[in-house]
């Protein structure tokens, strides 16, 4: 069993790297020693990953299904009724998440060695990265919602710093601001939910009599249930709390209508996108819902919220995929794909939660509780690997061609064989082609949404087609056909091709430090679906579900509609690949012809449903700036400033009055003391006789 301090170290090793790089390296180290900041980061995260693996082993050893271990320490405690705790909840869910974060982060830090080489902000990059990793590990391992919230905000902050990493680019600065503001806006819901939890549930017996902290995640479902049965909180109130939490989760995970920040966030360095916007931060929302899953799945009470989660997830899946189909920036294609996949995860969780909350069969509800981890988290798990790998591959393309625009690439297959194959495998996995990882996890979601929320299932099914289509559209345009020249102005500084005289780009394979991490992730993208390989019994870990998947595929029969789903999903995906081939590979149908035929809808998609315009022009400039903000400004200028200035003036006046008493004359000081005694005595005696 892993000792408690080692679990703390998972979080604090990257914090240490952050402190060393931020406080010692950046102010003091010379430029030529900058590389050590990268080594420090990689070392610390490798340490975290090792410990996270140890944690996973321990959890598996202790019988993963029921095991949960809480390590808590006080953060602030005075007297009896002010106790704020920081605690860690170690169970299969948190251990898995920590593992995902550790693996992806480590691979991406190694990749960054090549990608960020020569960048002037090298040490800054390796300062924020461990901070982000630490915060994300904190979200994963936290056992207390307050601690979760602190880490949650740290994730937001470090993400802001990393998106705006190239802050001299106006677009990057704007994107960072947008991401921060949108997610903060969503966090308002989270905060309200925390307030609701405190006021609604602090009076329960579990909190008052047994001394359980009201924000303790492991006990929160029981506390909530007691609060509802004791009548401390109404079902509606409880639903609002759940929706508040989901609002926070939706902001981080880019669910409609809060998705607008994620595509813009691609302005950050590609490794940042690979870590933050594909495998970790954006998954934090999904993870939070999974973490509090028993609350969403609470019989009768969680139903509405679960339905909202599933519905919004399903809608986001298809909504984002539609925009991904028309983008030319390969990173943005991946960004929309990420949004869409996050929608899938939410759909899976929501569907299972809805099923569990809806059914009156106790056993089935318990079974569904088990499934939740296998459904939502399994896709998060596999998706993290193949999506961060795809991002890294897109970074590798840009590193070599100077652009993300697929119109400027073409035929890159010949020059960059590793990147090509890695991209192919990632895309197949993402499209859900047997036997790659994505197939297993995605079909789990399809299966459950068919069983519990069939009306959203159709959205998911159409999305399968769209996913395969946009991924292979990108592949055919990028890797096949003729080389279209790239963008010489976008080449990375410090690169050997960075001689400004030449206007030609010669694509070449990326250096070993960039290819190697992609290969490692590629192995996981292929294999992580079969099971968790190695000594961990996948069966115990996934509640028996991973094997069930396997048997579903080998023994499916067309008699049972349910069992034929994976096959149908596979056929739909292959059809998507075929259509992409038809248009962009073989060019049987002209791309332009289709574009003309569907011009209105294509424009609608390309302009992202005009959501940016809606938010910025209508809501922000129109409603907020001209309306509410103007009112606030007026209120501030005339009322608040008036009061403040008045108070300050009054304070000065009164202070001046008192100052006159302070003459420096000893007699007057003595008189003041005597006066004090007399007044106090008078007051006390009046109290005594009155």
């Amino acid at each position: 069993m892993i000792p408690d301090y080692a679990v703390w170290l998972i979080i604090f090793l990257p914090v240490l790297a952050f402190l060393i790089n931020g406080l010692i390296m950046r102010p003091l180290a010379k430029e030529k020693n900058a590389k050590y900041s990268g080594y420090i980061t990689i070392l610390s995260i490798a340490g975290s990953l090792g410990l996270a693996l140890w944690a996973v082993y321990s959890v598996a050893d202790e019988g993963a299904k029921e095991f949960s271990h809480v390590i808590s320490t006080h953060w602030l405690g005075v007297g009896d009724n002010l106790n704020i705790e920081i605690s860690i909840l170690l169970d299969k869910l948190s251990a898995t998440m920590a593992l995902v974060v550790g693996v992806c982060s480590l691979m991406i830090q190694i990749y960054g060695q090549g990608y960020m080489k020569g960048d002037t902000g090298y040490m800054r990059y390796y300062t924020w990265m461990p901070l982000f990793t630490a915060a994300m590990l904190g979200v994963a391992l936290s056992g207390n919602l307050i601690f979760t919230f602190v880490c949650w905000e740290l994730v937001g902050l470090s993400s802001y710093l990393l998106i705006g990493f190239w802050y001299h680019k106006p677009s990057a600065a704007a994107a960072a601001k947008k991401a921060f503001v949108v997610t903060r806006f969503a966090d308002l819901g989270f905060v309200m939910a925390l307030v609701g939890i405190y006021f609604g549930m602090n009076g329960t017996e579990l909190v008052q009599k047994e001394g359980i902290n009201v924000f303790d995640i492991a006990n929160l479902p029981d506390i909530a249930h007691q609060a509802i049965t004791m009548g401390l909180i109404s079902t509606t109130g409880f639903t609002w709390i759940l929706l508040g939490i989901f609002a926070g989760a939706a902001g981080k995970s880019g669910q409609f209508p809060l998705h607008v920040w994620l595509p813009d966030a691609m302005e950050g360095p590609t490794p940042v996108s690979a870590l933050i916007h594909s495998s970790t931060m954006v998954c934090a929302g999904v993870y939070l819902v999974a973490r509090l899953f028993p609350m969403f799945a609470m019989h009768e009470y969680g139903e509405t919220a679960a339905l909202v989660v599933a519905g919004l997830g399903g809608f986001t899946a298809i909504f984002s995929a539609s925009m991904g189909m028309v983008m030319y920036d390969i990173k943005r294609v991946l960004a929309y794909s990420t949004l869409s996949q996050l929608g899938y995860m939410m759909l899976g969780l929501g569907a299972v939660a809805y099923g569990a909350a809806h059914t009156s069969d106790h056993h089935e509800a318990e079974h569904l509780m088990e499934l939740a981890f296998a459904i939502g988290m399994f896709h998060l798990f596999t998706h993290a690997f193949f999506k961060s790998m795809l991002f890294l591959a897109s970074g590798s393309l840009q590193h070599s061609t100077g652009t993300f625009d697929i119109r400027l690439m073409g035929g890159v297959r010949k020059y960059m064989p590793w990147t090509f194959w890695i991209f192919i495998i990632g895309s197949l996995s993402l499209s859900g082609i047997w036997p790659l990882a994505g197939f297993w996890s995605k079909d789990g979601i399809l299966l459950e949404s068919w069983a519990h929320t069939p009306w959203f299932f159709w959205l998911a099914m159409i999305t399968v087609f769209m996913t395969a289509f946009y991924m292979f559209r990108a592949i055919f345009m990028t890797f096949f056909g003729e080389w279209r020249g790239g963008d010489p102005s976008g080449l990375h500084h410090g690169d050997e091709h960075d001689d400004h005289g030449h206007q030609e780009v010669h694509p070449h394979e990326s250096p070993f430090v960039m290819v190697a991490p992609m290969v490692v992730l590629c192995v996981l993208a292929i294999g992580s679906g079969w099971a968790f390989l190695g000594p961990i019994d996948a069966n115990a870990f996934l509640g028996g579900h991973s094997h069930a998947f396997f048997s579903v595929f080998t023994e499916f029969s067309l008699d049972e509609a349910k069992h034929s789903l994976p096959l149908i999903g596979l056929i739909v995906a292959l059809f998507g690949v075929f259509v992409a081939y038809a248009i962009y590979g073989a060019q049987w149908v002209s791309n332009e012809a289709i574009g003309r035929a569907f011009k209105p809808i294509r424009t609608l998609w390309y302009r992202k449903y005009y959501m940016d315009e809606l938010y910025e022009d209508v809501i922000i400039r129109g409603v907020l700036m001209k309306g509410i903000f103007w009112l606030c400004a007026a209120f501030d200028t005339y009322v608040v400033d008036g009061i403040v200035n008045g108070t300050a003036g009054l304070a000065s006046e009164v202070g001046g009055l008192f100052r006159k008493v302070q003459t420096g004359q000893l007699q007057e000081y003595g008189i003041a003391m005597g006066f004090g005694v007399v007044v106090m005595l008078a007051a006390v005696l009046i109290g005594f006789y009155g």
Binding site: G77, A651, L666, V677, F688, Y689
Partner: protein, 475 residues
């Protein structure tokens, strides 16, 4: 007689005598501060060693409980920091009186330690006088006009306060027949001695200690004395004697006057009103100041108001809250004063306008002073925020919302003058660009205070845990 129970105090007295004797025989006087500061480790270790033991010493006159030990450790720590940071100042200003200076500081610390432990009124009075006498002398140590004047003011007003206190003690003794605090508590317990005369005694005792901690209207000596006294003495005065004053107040009001409901309700509200008056007037006067030492004096008055909120709450949370608050206030206030010592050593002025552009001249000192002022304002992530939080929370538990509202409003007013100093330091134009040197003693003391302020701001449980355990006084 259990000698080891008073071993911290005994070794402290021995240390003071050793310093005086060394001063007579040793040629190299610069060893004196080192001997004093390092010597403090002995009583410190002995005090900590008694943590789990406890008991009563000297015919039940001294309590060796966790409460007393908490304060002893605090006072010893403050003394060490003051000595560390002052050797340069002492060398410059009164080179020939170094032995006396350190010995007097140690003796007054001894008096304060005894105050924290005393549970009998005559002992309380004697230890109070022991510390006060040394402080009167220290205040006048510069022997210039201002210093002498402030020393004289201090001793005269202190004498009045002592008389008030003593008269109150006599009255309480007359009504209860004992000078032991637990005896007084027992005599008052069953509705005994329910007389207006006893109330007079309580009010007079409260007034006497209100002088010691500097609550309004017993605060008027503070700005004059703070301004005139040598800056290290001011720093010491502003934290150590307040801490001990609160220790005595807590012990008297909890152990002697805590039991009977009629009295308890009275003094809780009494201190509450005093808290409001103290913080409001302290802040209003601080806004007016242009001298940083006077500003810190009035800000110290306001801080006492916040601490009194915890006393008005009169519960266990208030007790441990006061202890926590005093510790973080000491760290921040000392940090601020030490930075002021370093700066005034160089520029020879305490006017705030002369601090203009200090960030460019002495970035580290300006930053430390800034963080300490932020902590005094009560803004996270500094410890001052946590201190206010725990004290106000204690008052909320007792339903004293009015008190908390006053506290919060006053914290906002206080931000005005703290930020004014910071604005001058960080935004103002530097008058010269000559750097400000600081010696290793000052640097060490600043590191301790800044580290403490930030650590307790981020992880307050490191201290609230001990304060909770040490809050053993029962009403």
């Amino acid at each position: 007689m259990e000698w080891h129970l008073i071993s911290p105090e005994l070794t402290m007295a021995v240390l003071a005598l050793v310093v005086i004797l060394l001063d007579l025989v040793v040629e190299k006087k610069h060893y004196l501060p080192i001997v004093s500061a390092v010597g403090l480790i002995v009583p410190l270790v002995l005090a900590i060693d008694l943590w789990n033991e406890g008991g009563l010493a000297m015919n039940d006159m001294l309590a060796v409980d966790k409460f007393a030990i908490f304060f002893k450790v605090l006072i010893l720590g403050i003394t060490a920091m003051v000595i560390m940071s002052s050797w340069r100042y002492v060398n410059d200003k009164f080179e020939h009186l170094r032995g006396e200076f350190y010995a007097l500081i140690l003796l007054s610390a001894l008096g304060l330690m005894l105050m924290a432990a005393a549970r009998e009124m005559i002992t309380i009075y004697v230890s109070l006088e022991l510390s006060s006498m040394s402080l009167y002398a220290l205040t006048a140590f510069l022997k210039d006009r201002k210093s002498t004047e402030s020393g004289l003011k201090y001793i005269l007003l202190g004498g009045i306060a002592s008389a008030i206190l003593l008269y109150g003690m006599v009255l309480v003794f007359g009504f209860t027949g004992t000078t032991h605090l637990d005896g007084i508590g027992a005599a008052l317990a069953d509705g005994g001695a329910r007389e207006p005369g006893l109330l007079l005694g309580v009010v007079l005792i409260a007034s006497g200690f209100a002088f010691k901690i500097g609550a309004v209207p017993f605060h008027m000596w503070m700005p004059d004395v703070y301004e005139g006294a040598p800056t290290p003495v001011t720093a010491y005065l502003s934290v150590a004697s307040k801490a001990a004053g609160f220790a005595v107040i807590l012990r008297i009001f909890f152990e002697a006057f805590g039991e009977p409901g009629w009295l308890y309700d009275d003094w809780s509200v009494l201190w509450g009103v005093l808290a409001v008056v103290t913080m409001s007037i302290g802040n209003l006067l601080a806004i007016q100041q242009s001298n940083i030492k006077r500003l810190l004096a009035y800000s110290g008055v306001a801080q006492v108001g916040y601490i009194l909120v915890g006393l008005a709450a009169a519960n266990a949370a208030g007790q441990s809250g006061i202890m926590f608050y005093l510790a973080v206030y000491s760290l921040a206030n000392l940090g601020a004063f030490i930075a002021v010592i370093a700066i005034s050593n160089k520029i020879g002025s305490d006017e705030i306008s002369d601090y203009s552009g200090m960030f460019k001249r002495a970035p580290v000192l300006a930053l430390v002073l800034g963080v300490c002022l932020i902590s005094l304002t009560g803004i996270p992530p500094t410890a001052g925020f946590m201190g206010k939080l725990v004290v106000f929370k204690a008052a909320m538990d007792e339903g004293m919302l009015w008190l908390v509202v006053f506290g919060v409003v006053n914290s906002v007013i206080a931000a005005f003058y703290y930020f004014k100093v910071m604005k001058v330091m960080f935004i103002g134009e530097a008058k010269s660009l000559v750097g400000i040197p600081s010696d290793s003693g000052i640097r060490a003391a600043l590191v301790i205070s800044i580290f403490g302020v930030l650590l307790l701001g981020i992880y307050p449980y490191a201290l609230t845990k001990w304060a909770d355990i040490a809050a053993v006084l029962l009403p």
